[in-house]
Amino acid sequence: MKETIDSLQFRITKRFGTKTVLRDFALEIRGKQFVTFLGPSGCGKSTALNIIAGLIPATDGEVSIDGERIDRVPPEKRGFGMVFQNYALFPHMTVFGNIAFGLQLQRRPAEEVRRRVQEMLELVQLPGFEDRYPGQLSGGQQQRIAIARALVLHPRLMLLDEPLSNLDAKLRIEMRAEIKRLHTSLGLTSIYVTHDQVEALSLSDWVVVMKDGVLIQAGPPQEIHDQPVNVFVADFMGFRNFFPARVTALGAERAVEAAANGMTLRGRTRHTFTPGASAVAAIRPDDVLIGGDAGSPNAVPGTVDIVEYLGREDEVIVRLESGDRLWVRTGARLTPGESVRVILPPDRVIFLPAEESGGTA
């Protein structure tokens, strides 16, 4: 049943008692896309995935595939594959038994089952592991088997619930590439849940940032990375430095000039500000430059406060004249107490709406 889907559409609300876990969470996912639900724990991303899988019912709303509603279809009839954070292999079955489970429920001939399990084991690079039990495998191997177990049924949609969270850092990067490879080479449609923005950016065609059960921003990784819609997304995407500011002038091509605690900062925005509006200026530690001309825009003097050695670079906290602290990643070897001039390049400074609940994309 090598089915593919053209589109998955849903609009779901989920309440547990009086607590609303998902509020009108709506999205359309197209075939062969790799979509990530990204958000901190408790934002409802896993709940959304479980509702799509049919494992928990939505309080309100609908899920449909290619225009056909599936929210009353039980999980075993949806034809989706799912991979769990803790692998969820059947401990009393061998690797062969685990991967063959779904095929045997479909009453496939033994010869076909054997062949397809064999193919899957080769695909996940674990041939010869048929007779092992899950308890005899490492975490990474177990997750490969869990992926093989889902893929062997040619699912029309792959659902991955933080599949790499239990693995160590090195293995995580390896498996990330593996998942991407399988997604591309098999032409899958995948939804991936994670709280790790690096995973989200590196894997996805489309990132959905969630908070408190609400969709905050959805778009291609570059857009989420470069143009976060508010402080929450910016914070999640690695903007460490935030300065409350008041807009003083607006220029062409979405340029903004603002006063922030005695500094005059220039940057850009995707928002519509009016002069005098309050805003938040944000920049990533990696984008801050050390040194440069006093006359260049966004040049600010300061004193080195703390230096943390990170290997190739140092993470430095600079105390600005205004009293604000600025996180900087730099290869320049600085020493605490040293006076420096930092430049916040205007094309790297973004202005966000002042209040948290700003806009949504």
Partner: protein
Amino acid sequence: MKRAGTGEPSELDLLAIACLLPSLLYVLVLFVYPFLYGIFLSVHPLKVDGFSLANYVAFFTDQYQYKTVGITFRLAVPNTIMVVAISLLFAYNMRRGIWLERTITTILVLPISLGVILLAQGILGFYGGKGWLNQLLIGLGILEDGLTLTHNFTGVMLSLFMQQFPFCFLMLLGYISGIDPSIENSARTLGANPWTVFRRVMLPLIAPGLAIAFALVFVMSFGTFASAIMLGQPSGSTRTIAIAAYAQAFEMFDMPYASAIAVIMGIFQLAGLLVIILLRKRMVTAATMGVGKR
């Protein structure tokens, strides 16, 4: 545990033995010695000098005595199956937690903490001939004569069930709710309906706990004494093997014969456990058969 075969015990072993000594002594004095003495006693009947199996022969040739085995099995086996099956049904369906779980659990634990005597009194007061249940049924005109639910087989079954259900239920609930929910969720997404999930995935995982539950409930039921006396007919339909042993010991004052009956009871209990272990092995193999290459 791997030590080179020098044969010399290390210091640690001596310490371990020293630490074990008190508990070992306790087990030896309070369990092993009386147990072995009981066996010794049972093969030295009162009227015979030296070794003799006369007590065993007497038990199995006297219908009044040997039919207690049948009676005990007739009580213990259905009770065990009922207790474990109903516990499994409840525990499995409550594995994801339920409303007011703590309150319900507390109510369930109460009968265990009250002891058999109080429970038996309660059953007599409620289910007895002039108990509340009968008065209610007669008062409402549903029945003309009351139901006879005590001082017979039913009474003992009621009592055994009430004593053992909470205990068995809580044990299975703990066991089942400890199984990672994502295991059954993954089975669902792989195409298994709830029944298949139970049969192919959950049951084999529950099997060890189920076997322990069967074993414990069976052994407790087989040894039933107080319930059989207070709620049954201790001289007739519910004269269990424990009552037979008690009668020999404290009514006939024939300790050796009583010991022989106790040993026979122990042998049947062990046989019951053996059957449970064999069934468990079969069950697990059957449930996983055809799933893995074995």
